[in-house]
């Protein structure tokens, strides 16, 4: 795509070999004298203690899950416990090599990783900062619990704070790191560099890449580690993410000082099993996991296989990789082999592995081996080691007693505040736009595409009442372009990417001319990796940046399903509002291209709580709503109809203001006044509804037309006020009728305004089948005659005219046939 990277046919067809270099497997030699000199004896002993803390912590969870008691404490824990007994050296070794500012992103099996990272960070952060972190978090609720009910038995305050915060989170208490909204599989605490763990296998891969991109662009110097399992190598997202992080454009096209790949380490804790599927030999093809690095980049992701039963081997490898990453040579991959003694979960009966295998691995218990190594080298005595074990048990017991007690550590009070969880969904914050960024390549006013827009009329209707052509008046496409460019020009933390976003100007021309204005590192082409596009945006945003991303067609939401529905939509609430996700996801609704390129999937997105959903139908709304989306701190999906890109403004007589402005979400727009029937439209259905209103008017029926504009949040007040006058409601959208959001609106209006209604509301959408090709499309998306047919047929039978559309269906009969 970029013209400065030419594909040379002679070079392409010259005879050559693709060459690989050897990938080291367990190359660590383990000289204890050198390790003593490197770390010092105190740090080496602490590594043992940290492993013991993790083992005891998880043994406690296992005891509660299996027997309902731990050291005389009775408790029924109903949540999940994916334990990492046997994997402690991987977590602790990695934490030894990372600084407090470095960020780890985990999996469902990451209690050990956040404890290890937290313990290392607590030891490295200066006492004043540590105190401030603890006092600020949750208005001091967690620190109060620790000082009042854990006390000295919990060890150093910062350690007790960490362990109490994690356990209270696992036990879903208000004092947990995320008020119990995350729980066991999602616990995290960013001040210690422990970023979200993820219950979706592989889910952290793209998020870590996005956070690494943020670290890279902001110059924070942080390294980001995606802690993944071997089972995740079967997931598409991790491949998309590894490629995204290794893309050639970082080095070949981005300008200094940004011409480096983002500092991300794909760190696979390889315990040989994906739940019960054996990765090596059964479900995966790689034989050695590290082999996959060779398939991604010429540097083979610097892949290595490392002994995960030895914390010092892991620390050595992670240190070397972190150094590579900090010098811009990433991304990197580690295959850390270690054995999970515990089951996948506490209901696991080990049906998939033999007793002989489990017994053989007992000899490789990382804690026993490491303790033996320290004792053998004279770094710790047997008695001191025994004392260490006892102290750790007391520490975990003290923390456990404090958290188990519901008086001291209650859950959030849902009875007192029934919508408290809902209130965590959105933060409602809006940022201002600042000064012009100092990294622009040119003044927008000097760029041809911007000059073209500047020459156009702002209102799309001529003095004689005729509608201007899209070459002569501002279109919806131009209006989006103006709002987006304003934010890119004035918000240096904003990056924009997607397929064809740069040189092409976006597949539908919304970004036209931007490549001449915005530097590569803030506007770039993404690979055709919809999952990674969304996942990296989630990571970029939760690490402090802002992202505008694009899925070329809304139909590709499926490709990014988990990232939209389980990541983008969830992390604000799962963090109890701790995280902000200012991500705007544009998706165009196609036409003419048939079943896989023409779907209005707004209802899929409104169904999953956590996303603001916008569907502008006019140029003015497109500009104002896009500006609001980009200035908000909540994740927002903006749907754009390809049929509307060339629409000019016909409603606002003053035209689309050339200056920047915002239109608030949650305010529907009345577009035509009438007293006989309310027609609420979603997206492009506004225009056929207007045409229908003309015909209805000829029959003495005046339609009150309202454009919904935003679906989440939704403005019932405007609709109810109209229905109070008209007593009749039709909702028109291009989404298929079954499970359409329009039905939710119809049901709620029926409940809220039953007394006002003269008839049941009608939902008119697309029929419950595929979108047909261009020549049949007008039998699919509601047309003016379909709207008239329905209004006459359902609301004004006395004025019945001959039906002109095909929609005279036996709804119940078709439902019985599954259509």
């Amino acid at each position: 795509m970029p013209k400065n990277l030419q594909i040379n046919p002679e070079q392409t067809y010259s005879t050559d070999m693709v060459r690989f270099t050897d990938i080291p497997v367990h190359a660590y030699e383990g000289d204890i004298a050198a390790e003593r000199a490197r770390w010092g004896d105190a740090v080496l002993c602490e590594a043992l203690r940290h492993m013991l803390v993790i083992r005891e912590f998880e043994s406690m969870l296992h005891a509660f899950k299996s027997t309902g008691a731990y050291r005389g404490i009775d408790y029924v824990y109903k949540g999940p416990a994916h334990l990492s007994v046997g994997q402690e050296a991987a977590a602790v070794g990695s934490a030894m090599a990372l600084g407090p500012q470095d960020q780890i992103f985990g999996s469902h099996r990451s209690h050990g990783e956040i404890i290890a990272k937290g313990l290392a960070a607590a030891a490295a952060i200066d006492p004043d900062s540590l105190q401030s972190i603890m006092e600020v978090h949750g208005d001091g609720q967690l620190l109060d619990l620790v000082t009042t009910h854990v006390g000295d038995a919990g060890g150093a305050v910062a350690e007790a704070f960490l362990l109490t915060g994690v356990l209270a989170e696992i036990f879903m208490r208000d004092a947990g790191f995320n008020r119990g909204m995350g729980g066991s599989m999602h616990a995290f605490f960013t001040p210690f560099g422990a970023y979200p763990n993820n219950a979706i296998v592989g889910g952290s891969s793209g998020i870590a890449v996005g956070a690494a991109l943020r670290a890279h662009l902001s110059g924070s110097g942080a390294v980001c580690v995606a802690n993944l399992g071997d089972g995740s190598t079967g997931c598409g997202l991790i491949w998309e993410s590894m490629n995204f992080a290794a893309m050639g454009q970082f080095r070949q096209l981005w300008q200094p000082p940004f011409n480096q790949n983002p500092p991300v380490l794909f760190c696979f804790t390889n315990n040989f099993y994906a739940m019960g599927g054996q990765t090596r030999g059964e479900t995966m093809s790689w034989d050695r996991l590290s082999r996959i690095g060779a398939g991604i980049s010429p540097a083979q992701l610097h892949a290595e296989t490392v002994d995960g039963s030895n914390p010092l081997a892991v620390a050595d490898a992670v240190s070397r990789k972190a150094e590579l990453l900090r010098s811009g040579q990433g991304p990197a991959l580690l295959d850390i082999e270690c054995y999970r003694y515990s089951g996948h979960s506490t209901t696991d009966t080990n049906a998939y592995r033999s007793r002989d295998e489990m017994k053989a691995w007992q000899a490789h218990d990382p804690i026993a081996r490491y303790r033996h190594r320290l004792v053998e080298a004279g770094i710790i005595g047997e008695t001191a080691a025994d004392d260490m074990v006892a102290a750790v048990q007391s520490q975990i017991e003290a923390v456990t007693r404090a958290v188990v007690d519901r008086q001291n550590a209650p859950a959030v009070d849902i009875a007192a505040n029934p919508t408290i969880i809902g209130e965590m969904t959105f933060n409602g914050e809006e940022i201002g736009t600042g000064d012009r960024a100092d990294d622009l390549l040119a003044d927008p006013a000097d760029i041809g595409a911007m000059k073209s827009i500047a020459r156009k009329a702002r209102f799309g209707v001529d003095e004689d009442g005729s509608t201007l052509s899209p070459m002569r008046a501002i279109t919806l496409r131009d209006a989006l372009s103006e709002a987006i460019l304003h934010h890119l020009v004035h918000d240096q933390s904003l990056i924009a990417y997607g397929e064809e976003c740069r040189d092409w100007g976006g597949a539908f021309g919304v970004h036209r001319g931007f490549a001449d204005i915005i530097p590569y590192h803030r506007l770039f082409n993404a690979p055709i990796s919809e999952a990674a596009i969304v996942s990296t945006a989630v990571g970029y945003a939760l690490a402090g940046g802002r992202a505008l991303i694009e899925l070329m067609y809304a139909d590709f939401i499926g490709r990014a399903g988990d990232e939209i529905f389980n990541q983008l939509a969830k992390w604000q609430a799962m963090s109890a509002g701790e995280l902000r996700l200012p991500v705007v996801l544009r998706a165009s609704v196609g036409s003419k291209y048939g079943a896989q390129h023409s779907q209005d999937w707004t209802s899929l997105v409104t169904h999953v709580p956590g996303l603001r959903v916008v569907y502008p139908a006019t140029p003015n709304d497109a500009k104002g709503l896009m500006a609001t989306a980009l200035s908000g701190n909540d994740p927002t999906m903006v749907f754009e109809s390809q049929r509307l890109y060339d629409r000019v403004e016909i409603f606002e007589a003053d035209g689309v203001p050339p200056d920047y402005f915002r239109i608030p979400f949650g305010e529907a727009a009345p577009r035509r006044a009438g007293d006989d029937v309310t027609i609420l439209t979603i997206g492009p259905s506004l225009y056929p509804a207007l045409d229908a209103a003309g015909e209805l008017s000829a029959h003495g029926i005046e339609a009150d037309i309202i454009d919904a504009r935003t679906l989440v949040p939704f403005d019932y007040d405007t609709v109810l006020a109209s229905v109070a006058r008209t007593g009749r409601l039709m909702i028109v959208s291009e989404a298929v009728e079954r499970s359409s959001f329009a039905n939710t609106i119809a049901a709620n209006v029926t409940r809220l305004a039953f007394g006002d209604l003269k008839a049941a509301p009608i939902v008119l959408g697309a029929p419950n089948w595929i979108a047909p090709g261009a020549d049949m499309e007008d039998t699919y998306a509601p047309q003016p005659h379909d709207i008239c047919d329905a209004v006459f047929g359902s609301f004004f039978a006395e004025k019945r005219v001959n039906r002109r559309g095909l929609r005279d269906w036996d709804i119940a009969g078709m439902a019985k046939r599954g259509i």
Partner: protein
Amino acid sequence: MATEILVPQLGNEVTEAEVTEWVASAGDDVAAGEVVVVISTTKAALEIEAPCDGKLAEIRIGEGELTEVGAVLGVIE
């Protein structure tokens, strides 16, 4: 002999285009295949090449002006 530089057919739904930039100036010598003018539609910009060697004798539609498919943008002699 004079050769006209025409606005090409730009897809079956496009009728209008705008001259965004004349890369060549009147009086310049131009070579066949050289980009002489950039036009744009509502969606995309398009570089128009000189159809033959010669001198750009005349610019008929200036920068910022709207024109239609098939119109003469300029003349090469």
